[in-house]
Subunit: 310 residues, 2 copies
C-alpha cells in the first residue's frame, strides 16, 4: 500500500457514501456525503466525494493510484459492472459503473466490489485478523462475507454467505424471500427493531440491551432470543467453512462489548455440553468489529489494491 500513490476507498450505500484516503497503509482522511439516486446520481456523488477527499489531504485526483468502491447489489469486479443495485435507484443490469466513474475522474483506475466483500476485507485488515475470516453482517438482513485463505468466496451464483435464508424456525414467520422461519428474521438488526420499536431514534439493539441490563423481562427475552440466533449463525459459519476468525459486524455492533459477551456466553454454554464444539473452540475465534471503525471504506481501498497492486 505504499509506493505508487494513495488510494481512495468508497462505501456507496443507498443513502450515503462514506469515503477514505489510504496512503502508505494509513487512513489520511475520511468524509461522507449523501448519495444521489440513479446511475448519474451515484456517479456525481462518488466523483464529488473523491474530490473532497483529495482536497482534504492536499493532493490532486490525478495523484491517486486509483479508487476502490463497494456497492450493494450484484457486482462483477472483473468487468466493472453492477446490476440491480435497487437501493441506489439502479434497477438496470450490467451497468459499467467502474469505467464510467473512471472517465468522470480523468481516467483514474476504478475497481468496484460487493459491499459485503469490502466490509470483510476492511474488518479483517483493521482487526489484524489474518486472511481466513467470516464477517457476520448483522444489519437489515443477515449475511456472511467470506475470505478463505485470502480469497473472497462469492460462490457460483453469488450466493456464498447467504446464511440469513437458512431455516432457523420450522414453519416460522414469512420471510420476504418466500421461505418461512429464515435465520435473518431472528438474527438481524431489522429483526430486533421489529420486536423492540425504539421511538426516540436510538438503535433498537442499544435500547433492548440497555433495557435488558436494567432487568426489563420483555427486553431480556427479546435480547436472549436474538443472541441465541446470532450464536446459531456463528455455529453455521464455523461448521461449514471453519474459518479462523468470525467477526460480528453491521449496525447491531453499536451495542458494543455486551453483544460480544452475550454471544460468547451462549457458545461457551454449548461448548460445556459438547466435546465436539469444545474442540472446535468457536468462542475463541469470535470478535466484534467496533462500529466506529471505517471498515467498509478502508476495505474498498484495499479491494482496489487487490486487483491493481500499488
Amino acid at each position: 500500500m505504499s509506493g505508487a500513490g494513495p488510494v481512495v476507498g468508497l462505501d456507496i450505500g443507498g443513502t450515503k457514501i462514506h469515503g477514505c484516503v489510504l496512503a502508505g497503509g494509513r487512513v489520511a482522511g475520511t468524509a461522507r456525503r449523501a448519495t444521489a439516486r440513479g446511475i448519474e446520481g451515484v456517479l456525481s456523488s462518488a466523483a464529488d466525494l473523491v474530490e473532497v477527499l483529495c482536497r482534504q489531504v492536499g493532493i490532486a485526483v490525478t495523484d491517486l493510484a486509483g479508487v476502490g468502491a463497494g456497492l450493494p447489489g450484484v457486482v462483477d469486479t472483473a468487468a466493472g459492472l453492477v446490476s440491480h443495485a435497487v437501493n441506489m435507484g439502479i434497477a438496470e443490469a450490467d451497468v459499467p459503473l467502474a469505467p464510467l466513474l473512471s472517465a468522470r475522474l480523468g481516467g483514474t483506475p476504478v475497481v468496484i466490489e460487493n459491499d459485503l466483500s469490502v466490509a470483510t476485507i476492511g474488518a479483517a485488515h483493521l482487526l489484524e485478523a489474518g486472511d481466513d475470516v467470516a464477517l457476520l453482517s448483522l444489519g437489515t438482513g443477515l449475511a456472511a462475507g467470506l475470505m478463505l485463505h485470502g480469497e473472497l468466496r462469492r460462490g457460483f451464483r453469488g450466493g456464498a454467505g447467504e446464511i440469513g435464508h437458512i431455516t432457523y424456525v420450522t414453519d416460522g414467520a414469512a420471510c420476504h424471500c418466500g421461505q418461512r422461519g429464515c435465520l435473518e428474521l431472528y438474527a438481524s438488526g431489522a429483526a430486533l427493531a421489529a420486536r423492540w420499536p425504539s421511538p426516540n431514534g436510538r438503535p433498537a439493539s442499544v435500547a433492548v440491551f440497555d433495557a435488558a441490563a436494567q432487568g426489563d423481562p420483555d427486553a431480556v427475552r427479546v435480547r436472549d432470543e436474538f443472541v441465541a440466533a446470532v450464536a446459531a449463525a456463528v455455529r453455521i459459519v464455523a461448521l461449514t467453512c471453519d474459518v479462523e476468525h468470525v467477526l460480528l459486524g453491521g449496525g447491531v455492533t453499536e451495542v458494543g462489548a455486551p453483544l460480544l459477551d452475550a454471544v460468547t456466553a451462549v457458545i461457551r454454554g454449548w461448548e460445556a455440553e459438547s466435546q465436539f464444539l469444545a474442540h472446535m473452540a468457536i468462542a475463541d475465534r469470535l470478535r466484534l468489529v467496533p462500529a466506529e471503525l471505517a471498515t467498509a471504506p478502508v476495505g474498498a481501498a484495499l479491494a482496489f489494491a487487490r486487483v491493481v497492486p500499488v
Copy 2:
C-alpha cells in the same frame, strides 16, 4: 495422470480396504481385502493389497509412481501423519503412516489424505463435476467434503463441512456430540436405520424407499422426513459455500435415482415459493454419486497426483 507411471489408490476403512490402479487416467484394476487392526495391521493389509493390485495388472510395486490412501481420522497430508483413527484401532496421535507404508513398499512414495476428501476428489472426477464441489456424505454420520475452486477446504480446526452438527430440530434428540437435534440425527444412513430396522440385511434406505413406494404410510413418513432433512443439508451447503455442484454420496445412495428425485422434488417445491431460492437454482446442481463407482479409491489415487504430480 499419464506419463510417469501408474498410481494405486486405497480407501482404508475400519473393516475393509478398497483399492484401484489408475494408469493413463483409467482404472486398470480394483481389489478389496479386510483391514487388520492397529498400526501394524493397517500397514500389512495396505501393503498386501498394493501387491495384489500390481500383480493383477502385471506390474511390479517399483513400477508405481506412488500410492495415495484415504483414511478416517485426522490426517496431516503434508507430514504424512494420522491421528485418532479409532475405527482402525489406531488410538495414537501423529502416527507417521505415510513414511511407514512407503518403507514397507520399498520406498514407493505414499500420500495420505482424509477419507472424505478423497471421496470428494473421486466423485468430482468420475462425475466430471469440475472443481467446485460439495460431496454430502450420507453414511453413519453426515458431513460435506468441500472442494472450492479446486482447493480442498479442511478448515482451521479440521471442521469444515461438519454440517451434521448444525441444529435441525430445536431441543431434539440427544446427539453423541453433546448437542441436541443435530442434522445428522435426521439426514444420515444411521438415522434411517434407527427409524426403520431392516432385519434381513438389506440397507435400511433401500427398504424404506421400497416400502414407501408400495404405499406403507409409516415408510412414507420416515422417507419424507429423511428427504426433507437431506434437502435442508443441501440448502445449508448452497447458502454458505454456493458450490457449483452438490453431490449426494455415501451408503444411502444405494437407493439410486428415487433418492435424487425425492430430494430434488423438495427443493423444487421451495423454489416455487421463493424467488431467491429459484435464482440460486440449487436443484439444478444436485447429482447422485452412483454407489457402484469406485469414487474413494480413484480419489485416493488422484490425491497422490495432487501432491506429487505424475
